[in-house]
């Protein structure tokens, strides 16, 4: 292990290392070049690799993703930045009708290896047009993978895996995690796409956390353990394809499941997990599968309202206690 490194630099290093390894990898997006994006995640890449491989574009999310699809089909490995995830609404067409379907539709004539980075920004008062978590739409798209890193270690490992993957991968990064620091393994490593990670073993209840909610779940687990409750904590990491086997195995042991994610509860990824678990593990469940997630309203700029909107450790602790008692 080297010295501690921030989440955002873990992403940066993963991209830079892959660009060194593979000349077909390039980054593209608004301001990804010299400024390195609005929060500096890709800073320095243009200096090392030049403007041919760190491409600033006009404000055209649809064309950025369309360009990536066409470039990927022609043999390159684009890494695009969409910035705030709300802007992905402008390239749903390209991600869904084109990127996710192309290989299958063309009878395997092409591969579409590309990574799309999109940032969720809950907790920053960024308001209704900048703070949404929209990943679940993309969880419904076969042919597209969706990963949600939660620590500097898997931020780096998942980015490398995403770049090396021969399929389009949506990589959802939380702004509020950018400054989290951790030691990360030296040298090259990947975090496999499509596998959950069991972060804490336990016997009383399974907690599945999605993306940055791992941080809240860890806090909650600490509180719960002090009260003598032993949760098993699973970091979902990939929401498409879902690693249901790991979750099923855990529920078999704990007989209880709660999912925490930042997106709205309604039609969030927790809905799919809950539906599948009750379907496959009906006789193993001692309580309904529960969800700790955002309510069915909009996220506010106003800090008090925003805080109430977002799920957190306190809400998770309360839910677990309710489920167990």
């Amino acid at each position: 292990m080297g010295k501690p490194i921030m989440f955002q630099w873990a992403i940066n290093h993963a991209i830079a290392e892959e660009m060194r390894r593979d000349p077909t990898v390039f980054i593209i997006g608004e301001d990804v070049g010299k400024p390195g994006g609005p929060f500096g995640v890709t800073r320095g890449i243009i200096d090392e690799f030049g403007p041919e491989r760190a491409v600033d574009t006009p404000i055209s999310e649809g064309a950025i993703i369309g360009l990536c699809v066409g470039a990927a089909a022609a043999g390159l490995r684009p890494v695009a930045e969409i910035m705030f995830m709300n802007f992905i609404t402008l390239c749903v067409e390209e991600l869904y009708n084109q990127a996710s379907k192309m290989r299958w539709m063309f009878g395997a004539q092409v591969k579409v290896p590309m990574v799309v980075r999109a940032m969720t920004a809950g907790g920053y008062g960024a308001g209704p047009h900048h703070s949404s978590s929209l990943e679940s739409w993309f969880a419904s798209m076969p042919g597209l993978k969706v990963v949600m890193p939660s620590t500097p270690v898997n931020a780096k490992g998942l980015m490398k895996a995403a770049i090396r993957d021969d399929n389009p991968v949506l990589y959802v990064e939380p702004l509020s995690s950018y400054r989290i620091k951790a030691e990360i393994p030296e040298g090259d490593y990947i975090t496999p796409i499509g596998k959950c990670e069991i972060v804490r073993e336990g016997t009383d209840i399974t907690i599945v956390s999605v993306g940055r909610m791992l941080q809240e779940a860890l806090k909650a687990v600490d509180v719960l353990e002090k009260d003598g409750i032993k949760p098993e904590l699973i970091d979902l990491l990939t929401i498409n394809p879902l690693d249901m086997e790991t979750i099923y195995a855990s529920v078999k042991k704990t007989n209880r499941l709660v999912i925490i994610h930042e997106a709205k509860q309604t039609m969030g990824i927790g809905a799919e997990i809950a539906a599948s678990v009750q379907e496959k593990m009906f006789d193993w469940l001692d309580a309904p599968v529960e969800r700790v997630a955002a309510p069915f309203t909009h996220i506010a700029f106003q800090p008090k309202l925003e805080q109430h909107y977002l799920p957190d450790a306190t809400k998770l602790v309360a839910k677990v206690k309710q489920m167990l008692g």
């Binding site: 609005p38 600033d56 709300n86």
Partner: protein, 320 residues
């Protein structure tokens, strides 16, 4: 075009009001905890906002951007609910939910700022459609930046406004940057107003720091639109004195660029012009500035005393 003395004073006053509001906002934001979220300021671009809105009534509509305080003040919105909104208070124009980037003041015809670059244009054609449908002679002006000219929204909206002959004035403030990226990187030609010809519409490029020039050009555009001749594009060359958002270190700016533009500050230029013309004297100018300062101070006081919204506000007004 002859501009009356009252109009000149009005143009000047509106610009000062915006500047005062934004300077104060900047200070409060920097001070720390009172103003949440992201803040995009428009100091330096006041002539575009004021020259445009001074041609409009409350029955005309505007749409603006993430950098929209200036336009909304120019249109005539009350500073108190605006400031309360920036503070996230219940008396904010949007009950504190929206903040700087997303707010609106519908009764003065301010139909919305927008966090999504370019989208104001797609909405603007709708309000213009309604104006035409209801056989009013009203118009809609939509503000956007150089960066927004890259969006599909720009093309789709202008094209649809042209095919449906909608009364929309497309007002492009070229401040040379889309976030941190220079216009020369993201626009392949010198003047985007040249694109208007591709839709069979008039398009002009003007000095966006000359408030009277903006006023005059927009008055032509308004006449064109009120006559049912379809959209009109005005590109004004201007500059933002601050960074993209407050906190932006601006290290993408070449040395001296800001200083050159500060010399062309639209308010300073106009103040000098009005002094020279004898429309205003030093004393009256001081008075205007103080009046504006008082208005802003009252707005801040209003915001500070307004309570934060109750949690239930999160769940209200989702459906009509």
């Amino acid at each position: 075009m002859k501009i009356s003395k009252e109009t000149k004073i009005d143009l000047f006053t509106r610009m000062v009001k915006i500047r005062t509001f934004e300077d104060e906002t900047h200070k409060i934001f920097m001070a720390g905890k009172e103003m949440p979220g992201f803040l995009h300021l428009s100091q330096g671009e006041e002539a575009m906002a004021v020259g445009t809105c001074a041609n409009l009534t409350f029955d005309d509509a505007i749409y603006t951007t993430h950098r929209g305080h200036g336009c909304i003040i120019a249109k005539g919105a009350d500073l108190k609910p605006m400031m309360a909104e920036l503070f996230g208070r219940i008396d904010g124009c949007c009950k504190g939910r929206a903040g700087s980037m997303h707010f609106a003041d519908v009764k003065t015809g301010c139909m919305g700022s927008n966090g999504i670059v370019g989208e104001g244009m797609r909405l603007a054609i709708g309000t213009a459609f309604a104006q035409k449908y209801q056989k009013t002679k009203n118009v809609t002006a939509v503000f956007f930046g150089d960066g927004a000219t890259g969006t599909g929204a720009f093309h789709e909206s202008f094209n649809m406004a042209a095919t449906l002959k909608l009364p929309v004035i497309f007002v492009c403030s070229i401040n040379f940057y889309a976030q941190m990226t220079h216009k020369s990187v993201h626009i392949p030609i010198e003047h985007v107003a040249d694109r208007a010809a591709g839709y069979g519409a008039p398009g002009v490029t003007i000095d966006g720091n000359d408030v009277e020039l903006v006023y005059e050009e927009v008055s032509k555009a308004v006449k064109h639109c009120r006559a049912g001749k379809g959209p009109y594009m005005i590109e004004g060359i201007t500059y933002r004195h601050h960074g993209h958002f407050i906190g932006d270190p601006c290290n993408y700016r070449p040395a001296g660029e800001l200083e050159e533009w500060l010399k062309k500050d639209p308010i300073v230029l106009y103040e000098q012009k009005l002094l020279k013309e004898g429309v205003l004297d030093e004393k009256r100018i001081q008075q205007i500035k103080e009046e504006c300062k008082n208005l802003v101070d009252e707005a801040v006081a209003f915001a500070r005393q307004s309570p934060q919204p109750d949690i239930e506000e999160l769940y209200k007004d989702i459906l009509a």
